[in-house]
């Protein structure tokens, strides 16, 4: 990938002047050269190479560093359930995130070539790369919030859910005992089987709804309660059996008392629902065309169900996929731009020839684009794997305290074990060494590629 910026070339052999004077010059040249590299080598040696060796050594000692324990820390790593969880989560990250990112990046890179505003689109998707993981973490912590009044994702989920399933307006409502309604096992309320067409209006009183929670258009129920039903209809009213300020009588529709709109009422005969309707603004309902006989009226439990409050994104089950989602937001642009750069080097002739031969876009994509892009896709994938292994900030920020343990990955676990209360620097060092071991294939790959470029 460095090839996108730098073409590697072999440095030329320095000139070798002859004679004694030349020897002195050469020595002088070497001293100057060493002065040039010294600052870099000092910093790298003291702060990178030495720490690597120190950590490897430290990982064979116990928590306090006083006793040699051999491979005990490495064994502990696979025994301790939280560390094991971290290893498992890192494995999930390493498999899922690079795969999704490479796939998404490939699709977007191919599609964006077909529109004129490709540059603007690439910029927009690449921009999150400039945003810190901390800011991204706060953004997504907010987006994933459980409360549909705070988290945009749950707000969307709840509104989609309610659009299809309807929402219950009265999760807290219940009937008074001994006023005609009895509760069934599933939470529904039902009257005795004594309502007949042509009778007086059935009055079904509920309590437990705070007046401020009434729907905006609710109207007083008294008028509807006094109406008489036609010979083939059953009429009635569902109302809030409570007079604000007191003075109402239980079981009677007092003047001030409000109807409860939007409640589902069913007419039941012999255990079967024969008709169903919904109450109007004043709480009234009406079944027309019923055969004579007696019916029970039922307020099914759906009226009283607890409101649907969305998905627990940051709960133990979904927290890792949720954080991977945030990671996708940050890195998709990277994958797309890199793959796009590879795409622009593909031979146009091959694509054009295939098009002339009548190949459709999908065939071209499958048979030509993807195979030719394979080297680029590999580099993108490997790069992402290396970065995903070290993911720290996002997990640390997005996972709420109680689910930290469910979301933990190697880098966060290393931090928690060494500094965040665990204070076991032996195990912490071993985890650091494990992280290093995991990136060694990439190290070998880089060195090999560099040496090949030097030949």
């Amino acid at each position: 990938m460095t090839a996108t910026l730098v073409k590697e070339a072999s440095p030329p052999a320095p000139a070798h002047p002859d004679g004694a004077r030349g020897g002195r010059l050469r020595r002088r040249g070497r001293v100057i050269a060493l002065l040039f590299v010294f600052p870099a080598l000092l910093l790298l040696g003291a702060l990178v190479v030495y720490p690597v060796l120190f950590s490897v050594g430290r990982s064979f000692f116990d928590a306090s560093g006083s006793e040699f324990v051999g491979g005990e820390n490495y064994a502990e790593m696979f025994r301790d359930p939280t560390t094991l969880k971290a290893i498992r989560n890192t494995a999930i990250w390493v498999v899922v995130a690079p795969t999704l990112l490479t796939g998404l990046g490939l699709i977007l890179a191919v599609l964006v070539e077909k529109v004129r505003w490709a540059t603007a689109f690439k910029l927009l998707l690449f921009m999150p790369m400039a945003v810190s993981f901390l800011a991204a973490g706060i953004i997504f912590r907010l987006a994933y919030d459980d409360d549909p009044d705070k988290g945009v994702l749950n707000a969307a989920v709840v509104s989609v859910h309610d659009a299809f399933k309807g929402s219950s307006s009265y999760p807290t409502a219940r009937a008074r005992d001994g006023e005609g309604l009895t509760e069934e096992a599933d939470g529904a309320y039902v009257t005795g089987a004594d309502v007949s067409p042509g009778g007086t209006a059935a009055v079904l009183g509920l309590v437990g709804v705070a007046p401020k929670d009434l729907p905006g258009g609710a109207e007083p129920a008294a008028a509807a309660a006094g109406e008489k039903a036609g010979s083939d209809e059953v009429r009635g009213v569902v109302y809030l059996d409570f007079t604000p300020g007191g003075g109402g009588k239980p079981g009677v529709v007092d003047r001030e008392e409000s109807g409860l709109p939007g409640i589902t009422v069913e007419a039941v005969r012999g255990g079967e629902t024969v008709a169903s309707t919904t109450t109007a603004a004043d709480g009234s309902f009406r079944f027309a065309g019923l055969g004579s006989g007696s019916y029970a009226l039922k307020l099914p439990s759906s009226n009283f169900a607890a409101p649907y409050d969305g998905i627990s994104w940051l709960g133990p089950a979904l927290v890792t996929p949720a954080i991977i989602g945030a990671y996708l937001w940050i890195w998709t642009g990277f994958a797309m731009v890199l793959i796009g750069a590879g795409l622009s080097t593909l031979p146009r002739d091959a694509l054009e020839a295939a098009r002339m031969d009548g190949a459709n876009e999908w065939q071209i994509f499958r048979r030509i684009t993807v195979p030719l892009l394979a080297p680029v896709l590999t580099v993108v994938f490997v790069t992402l794997v290396i970065n995903v292994m070290k993911v720290f900030d996002l997990v640390y920020i997005i996972a709420p305290g109680p689910v930290q343990e469910d979301a933990t990955v190697l880098a966060t676990q290393m931090w928690l074990v060494s500094f965040g209360g665990g204070n076991n620097q032996g195990l912490g060092s071993a985890l650091g060494v494990l992280l290093l071991l995991l990136v060694i294939p990439a190290m070998v790959f880089n060195v090999r590629r560099f040496r090949r470029s030097q030949r």
Partner: protein
């Protein structure tokens, strides 16, 4: 027929990309709108309610934030960490890159291979040993300590990048300068640095953003008086939900600098990131 299909297909592609673009913008827009709402409004509903019932958006959270000395101090600490780091990385790496590319010294090739190998070393492995070392040197908890750590872990990539770029320079150019009797220092400052400007710019921008956005290193190496914005905000995450009126503008403040830098120098940044993708 096929022309119709193509136009139709293109419309579908455009629509799809527009949707993706909107999805990508939503998180940032949400953060920005949240940062403009008071704590009371946030308690009543999410930022999207401003579209249906426009409440009052104001910059009051920001003025409160700028009056908070902890936050402003942290903001300056971020500057005091990222600017010197960037300068040091560029200078130290340019010197070494030039030596690795054009000067002769014993062990040049094997040492450079070690630098290439160090490209992927995770910072995690350095935390504990360097913390001990800095403790002994009195650098632990100070801004110079944070800077030195960042410089060291930025160097492998920086040296690798600049060495490869400098090696591309025509040999004749350098030989002509040497013939004219220029010292290596003079050649370095008058010839190599100007020629290397594009690579140095990419490196500087990439390095600046990397350090500006860092949280992990500063979390360990900075104490409460030297901590940058990321760490300061992180310490308030525990009360998440009750302090969105602080966290949202704080996060926005911390990302506004990198995003402006990104748009101002997008080409350099993209190249720097792409070159660094072996990291």
């Amino acid at each position: 027929m096929s022309a119709v299909r193509r136009v139709l297909g293109n419309a579908v592609v455009q629509a799809f990309l527009v949707v993706i673009g909107l999805v990508w913008m939503t998180p940032l827009a949400g953060l920005f709108l949240s940062s403009l709402r008071s704590a009371e409004e946030t308690a009543e509903g999410g930022w999207w309610t401003v579209f249906t019932s426009p409440g009052e958006l104001s910059f009051e959270n920001y003025s409160a934030l700028l009056g908070n000395s902890g936050i402003t101090q942290a903001f300056w600490n971020t500057v005091l960490i990222s600017v010197p780091t960037t300068v040091l990385v560029v200078v130290v790496a340019a010197l070494a890159g030039y030596a690795f590319a054009w000067l002769d010294f014993p062990g040049r090739e094997p040492v450079f291979l070690v630098v290439v190998a160090l490209l992927v070393v995770p910072v995690q492995i350095g935390l504990l040993p360097v913390a001990k070392l800095f403790g002994q040197l009195g650098l632990f908890g100070t801004i110079p300590g944070v800077v030195l750590f960042h410089v060291a872990y930025g160097l492998p990539f920086a040296v690798f990048l600049l060495r490869n770029y400098f090696a591309e320079m025509p040999k004749e150019m350098l030989e002509a300068a040497r013939m004219d009797g220029g010292s290596e220092w003079r050649i370095f400052t008058r010839l190599v640095l100007p020629v290397g400007r594009p690579a140095i710019a990419s490196l500087a921008i990439f390095q600046f953003l990397w350090v500006w956005n860092d949280m992990l290193v500063a979390l360990l190496f900075a104490d409460s008086s030297s901590q940058p914005l990321t760490v300061q905000l992180q310490s308030q995450i525990r009360q998440f939900g009750s302090n969105i009126d602080v966290l949202a503008p704080g996060a926005f403040l911390s990302l506004v600098v990198p995003v402006v830098v990104f748009f101002a120098f997008q080409r350099h940044f993209v190249q720097g990131v792409m070159a660094g993708s072996v990291k």
